[in-house]
Amino acid sequence: MSESTSSPVAAVLNRLILLAMLAVLAAILTAAMVMQYALGEIPCPLCLLQRVAMFGCAFGLIEQLRAGNSERGGGIALIFSVLLLVISVRQTLLDIYPRPGHDYIGSAVFGLHLPVWSVIIAVALLLGLAVRLALFGSAQNATIAGRTPPRGIVQPLAIYVAAICAINFFSVIAQCGLGQCHTFGYWLLQ
């Protein structure tokens, strides 16, 4: 196993998997923001916490892409993936049985509501991280990985994720202020 993981091809594949996961996460967070600002779907508190978990996962993936001899970034991504799974499953279970005042918030995408998509995303992230570890092992090939392409994509993606995190922060201030979050309007506009 160690022979295969130390090959340059394995190192490139390892990084490509991480990069693909990061790009997909950035796209999902962007889509959530488009639904919020373009379609007027104000996120619920648990929806916002799911975004936080995705940002944490993205942070871990960025750390892992920059890693030298550490698997710390992968560990961080795993922790936040589990957090995303717990929050999204709980929200799905809260809304899955129709009760007064408990409906899914927002519209369905391809027939599934967003908390259900979050469950799928969390499982996909956990699977992706597990497959990466199963195929390529730990950070023994990190010295090769540090020199492999695509090096130039990581920093722009990291800046982009930080930028959408900043937009989300100001959006939360506008929606919730410093208090409790609600879905019936923006606190700043009232």
Binding site: P45, I62, I76, F80, R90, A162, A166, F169, G177
Partner: protein, 57 residues
């Protein structure tokens, strides 16, 4: 509280981009702790606690 969660997460990214890795990870862990605390507060019900009696397993 939600603002604090996002503020600490944003700080983690800013510290990371500035090359301050330890501060970044510390800020991220603080965000994680706040996020878990807020999640537990959000799902707790005075009537049901953490239970979900509408679900029968």
């Amino acid at each position: 509280m939600m603002a604090a969660v996002f503020a600490t997460m944003l700080l983690a990214f800013v510290f990371d981009l500035a090359g301050l890795r330890r501060l970044a990870v510390s800020s991220l862990l603080l965000s994680l702790a706040l996020c878990i605390g807020l999640f537990l507060w959000e799902v707790y019900s005075p009537d049901y606690g953490f239970r979900m009696p509408w679900l029968q397993l």
